[in-house]
């Protein structure tokens, strides 16, 4: 074996000795190494060192032998693993759902801070939330805002409770909002000349026993703009005759001011003069009658006439039939003589003077 061959072989073999010692060389390598070792003293010595080193390492005390010689650590590990597996398998804590449970725990641990917090919340609610709610009554979500597109059914009308009526903000004077609670609270918004809205308003006016006088007054105010409508006219006349509240009757007469010259209205005014129990209503009826006969605003001239004196006014020429005027004069004269209210008697006398001298039949 030439020195060159031996040197080459040593270079090849040296790195393999590490694996030869621990039996990690293939069969061909093993044979080559063993063949080389038989002839190479240096490599044999290196192999001996390698074996000794390997033996020393392998036989050295291992940490595992010392640290868990008794097997206690292994038992601990097993136990801990079982606990961890139990935790993995444990169903989620079945607590009752407690909203703001964290807050309650926090408050339970800090009573002073909790008291201060509650006071602060109360102050904020009182100073901020309540005014805000008052400014935004519709944000409470209790009422449904609907357009009066569909007529209310008779059932709805009969069960309806009207809590208020206001002019619709930002709209013309003909548009109103009606706060209604029937089966559910709702706000009706619509123009007075809308048939469905008129239906509700006239229903309120005609059924005085069911609705508050203030609501009826508001409805009359709203219906004033639609007094020319037959349905509305009938409701207004009905209210002027039958409503139990004199203020409402008075209001109904006022809404009929522009139509006072028409027969049905005049008849209602005469009936009011003769039968209405409230002197204010009778005075208003006098005024409207005079207005309708003279075409001028009544009440401007309320000159005092001697009580009990009967004036025979002369009817204004041309505009009214004699029979109608005679009837009005006769009623006024009767009122002047017999009305229990002194003011009504005086007003009637003044009205007769305004109508003009006329020979009483």
């Amino acid at each position: 074996m030439s020195p060159f061959e031996k040197k080459m072989n040593c270079k090849d073999v040296a790195p393999l000795l590490v694996f030869y010692v621990c039996d990690e060389v293939c069969e061909d390598e093993r044979k080559s190494i063993e063949t080389h070792l038989t002839n190479c003293k240096a490599c044999s010595e290196q192999l001996a060192e390698e074996k000794e080193f390997h033996s020393t390492l392998v036989s050295a005390p291992q940490a595992a032998n010392e640290l868990d010689a008794s097997g206690i650590l292994l038992s601990q590990c097993r136990s801990e693993l079982e606990e961890a597996l139990d935790d993995l398998h444990a169903p989620p804590l079945q607590e009752h759902w407690r909203p703001f449970g964290w807050l309650r725990r926090w408050m339970a641990l800090r009573p002073v801070w909790s008291g201060a917090l509650l006071v602060l919340v109360g102050v904020l609610a009182g100073t901020q939330v309540v005014p805000w709610l008052q400014q935004n009554p519709n944000t409470t979500g209790q009422a449904v805002r609907v357009r009066a597109r569909q007529p209310l059914t008779p059932d709805q009308l009969s069960n309806m409770v009207v809590s208020g009526l206001t002019p619709s903000p930002g709209s013309d004077s003909l548009t109103v909002q009606l706060q209604v609670s029937a089966e559910q609270p709702m706000v009706l918004t619509g123009r007075v000349d809308d048939a469905n809205m008129r239906q509700v308003l006239t229903y309120v006016v005609e059924n005085s026993e069911r609705f508050d006088a203030g609501v009826r007054l508001d409805c009359l105010d709203a219906l004033k703009a639609a007094a020319g409508d037959q349905q509305v006219r009938a409701a207004l006349l009905s209210a002027a005759r039958k409503d139990q509240n004199p203020a409402v009757r008075l209001k109904a007469l006022e809404t009929l001011r522009d139509a006072a010259g028409e027969d049905d209205v005049r008849q209602t005014l005469l009936d009011a003069l003769e039968h209405d129990s409230n002197p204010g209503v009778r005075v208003e009826a006098v005024n409207l009658l005079v207005n309708s006969l003279n075409g001028e605003a009544p009440g401007a001239d309320t000159a005092q006439a001697p009580e009990g004196s009967v004036v025979a006014p002369t009817p204004a020429p041309g505009t009214q039939g004699d029979e109608e005027i005679d009837h009005v004069v006769k009623v006024l004269q009767e009122l002047q003589r017999r009305d229990p209210s002194r003011y009504v008697r005086l007003r009637s006398a003044a009205a007769l003077r305004q109508i003009g001298p006329r020979e009483v039949q």
């Binding site: 990690e24 080193f53 390997h54 020393t56 005390p61 595992a64 650590l73």
Partner: protein, 225 residues
């Protein structure tokens, strides 16, 4: 050196050993179920089957962890973390390799993570055994009991402790991967191919790691010869 049970099985898996089957079967005289059936049961959610699997292999896992980490608490962490990972991912095991290989892939990964974290924190290095002041450094009650056994040869013990301390210091110089390869080869008795499977790398790479580790140790431990 006594080889761990799963080392035999792993060797058998890799076709390098056929003589240990009988011994393995006798050691693993587990109630009624072979490993595959046990695995299937565990995958189906059978907790007892999983615990049986753990008992088959956990001694060697803990041994590996102790040798690598050198601290019982760290080894306990590795043990717990590794087996919980196995438990959580058991449904992903498709029998494409042996369970031992799959298990050790997880264990070695956990060990590598711990070793790398420890390397990143120099203050967290494993304590070096101090033969001269052994009692002071030992906190484990059972270890103290063992050292006081009357049958132990004091002289041999001192020599062993000194060598162990030097080896421990030298092992600290190795990279985490080199340490694991060295440990698995020389103390766990695994073939390089099996180590490659466990580490998810080639046998050649493992061979290089073992060679570098041996060279480093020889340089550090020259006086041992």
């Amino acid at each position: 050196m006594q080889l761990p049970r799963w080392a035999f099985a792993l060797a058998d898996e890799n076709g390098c050993s056929g003589s240990t089957n009988a011994a393995l079967a006798s050691v693993n005289s587990l109630p009624n179920l072979d490993e595959r059936a046990l695995l299937a049961e565990a995958q189906a959610g059978n907790r007892a089957a999983f615990e049986e699997l753990v008992r088959r292999f956990d001694r060697d896992v803990l041994r590996l962890a102790l040798n690598l980490m050198k601290r019982p608490e760290d080894a306990r962490d590795v043990y717990q973390e590794a087996f919980l990972k196995v438990y959580r991912n058991l449904h992903r095991f498709r029998f494409e390799c042996s369970f031992y290989t799959w298990l050790y892939r997880i264990v070695t990964n956990v060990c590598l993570d711990h070793l790398r974290r420890r390397q990143a924190r120099p203050e967290d290095q494993a304590p070096e055994p101090n033969p001269g002041h052994h009692e002071e450094g030992v906190t484990d009650f059972f270890e103290r009991q063992r050292e006081h056994r009357p049958t132990l040869d004091p002289e041999r013990s001192m020599m062993g402790l000194e060598i162990k301390a030097r080896i421990a210091r030298a092992m600290e110089r190795l990279s985490p991967r080199e340490r694991i390869v060295f440990e698995m080869k020389h103390y766990q008795g695994l073939k390089l191919r099996a180590i490659g499977d466990a580490l998810g790398t080639t046998e050649e790479t493992v061979k290089n790691s073992l060679f570098r580790a041996t060279r480093k140790l020889r340089n550090e431990l020259g006086g041992l010869r």
